[in-house]
């Protein structure tokens, strides 16, 4: 492994269930943190639904994703950015989300993406 560090941004755009995207992104996030690279997560579009607490995934025979999201903190993944417009469009209040998040408008999102060395989109 190289000594140099790269900043990574993972963009989450998909709902927590219905496709494997959310889980795939989370697995990549945990791996990046094992490699001790700076990491931020950005939630856009339906991706903001991943942040809602108390999923009942067992009802559709899936593993619960919210438990894994709570694990992020244990892995020191604490840079969570959320598109405020995506929340608004879906009637979600920031206070509904129990994780420590930073809200961003469209300009803030553009700036965040610009700051990164690598952007992975799910």
């Amino acid at each position: 492994m190289s000594d140099s560090k790269k900043s990574f941004l993972i963009i989450n755009r998909k709902a927590p269930y219905g496709s494997s995207a959310a889980r795939d992104a989370l697995d990549v996030a945990l791996t990046i943190s094992v490699f001790e690279q700076p990491l931020s997560l950005l939630f856009l579009d339906d991706g903001v639904l991943q942040l809602l607490p108390e999923h009942n995934a067992a009802a559709i025979g899936q593993k619960n994703l919210s438990a894994n999201l709570a694990m992020l903190e244990m892995y020191d993944i604490d840079q969570l950015y959320v598109c405020s417009r995506a929340l608004e469009q879906r009637g979600i209040r920031p206070s509904d989300i129990k994780l420590n998040i930073t809200l961003l408008d469209q300009n803030g999102i553009a700036t965040l993406i610009k700051q990164q060395d690598q952007v992975l989109s799910f």
Binding site: S2, S4, A21, T31, F122
Partner: protein, 130 residues
Amino acid sequence: MIFSIVITGAPYSSQASASALQFSKSVLKLGHRIHRVFFYADGVHSGSALATPPQDERNIPAEWAELAREHELDLVVCIAAAVRRGVLDENEARRYEKNGHNLSPDFNLSGLGQLVEAGILSDRVVTFGA
């Protein structure tokens, strides 16, 4: 410039793998390097040696294999995503006691660390999603 490519869409269902092929060919033609191509999620089906599209359609797995041989590309298929979806090499087939394996010999199964390492060592990582 050093590129790495990530593909998460299945060939034939999504345009991801076919677009990534076009992109990779262009990148190489322009004199850049590709450090690694990482097949993740449904992208793992690009590594199947058993894909048999009609003759008037492109054979995406075969095109990847050919490009890899021509340019010594490192084609890595995410092992966790692959075994889940029934894309196995000989080792995994033995481990899980399956009586067949289908990973094309030009691809290798490995872990997500290979994706992160590619991100660290490349100037750009380009994702082709579903």
